[in-house]
């Protein structure tokens, strides 16, 4: 039995679709330096996100009938509390 794929036109035969993928890189690299054994050591932290897109087009018409997105967040958000000096 041929597999079907759910699309905006309902379930259609997988053989009538063209599958493609795309990666989108929205990553920023933050480099910080620290001292270790009297040497500067770089630390690289990734910020931002990476997107992976999956698309199904109708093989005959070329119409985009299904598009999925997977986003990978490299780093969350932080809050930096500060204790003020009591004067």
């Amino acid at each position: 039995m041929e597999p079907v794929v759910y699309t905006k036109n309902g379930n259609v035969l997988a053989s009538t679709l063209v599958y493609s993928t795309e990666w989108e890189d929205h990553i920023e690299h933050e480099v910080t330096l620290s001292f270790k054994d009297e040497q500067l050591v770089p630390h690289v932290t990734k910020h931002g996100y990476l997107l992976f897109k999956e698309r199904y087009h109708d093989a005959e018409t070329g119409e985009l009938v299904k598009e999925s997105l997977h986003a990978y967040q490299f780093k969350g958000l932080d809050i930096s509390p500060t204790a003020e000096q009591i004067s």
Binding site: E67, H70, K75, G76, I79, A83
Partner: protein, 153 residues
Amino acid sequence: MANTQSICTSFKKELMLGYHAFGATLARGDTTLDSFKAALYYAAASPSIDATTTVYTSTGEVVDASYTATGAAVTNATAPDTSGTTAFWTPSASIAWTALTAAAFDAVLLYNITHATKYAVAVFTFGTQTVTAGNFTLTMPSNSSSTALIRLA
């Protein structure tokens, strides 16, 4: 070792656990953890979803038959932890929508649904995106002091 001025690391974790109330707080019915959800918002949401957002709102939220208003459940199976002087927490699973159709959305609001007011926690953006009869998955960062989704550094 000399005394050092600092915010106590345990306090950062306890903030996430709701141990401290410097002002009048809400009544908690029990000692169990809260539930959280994530809602999707259009890039053109007005008012925008940002640091000034205090509670969940349906204004600007994605509207489609394939999308359930108020969003998707956030799996919270891992309690806040500390490492070094940082307290951190990350949902214990990806946040996912299936068979979704939504155009021009760019943000997700993480919020608390245990309390009727639905207090906001954080907003994450990922560029304006469109999904058609597809899946949308937000994969969480590693749950560590340097990358966790929510960190009190």
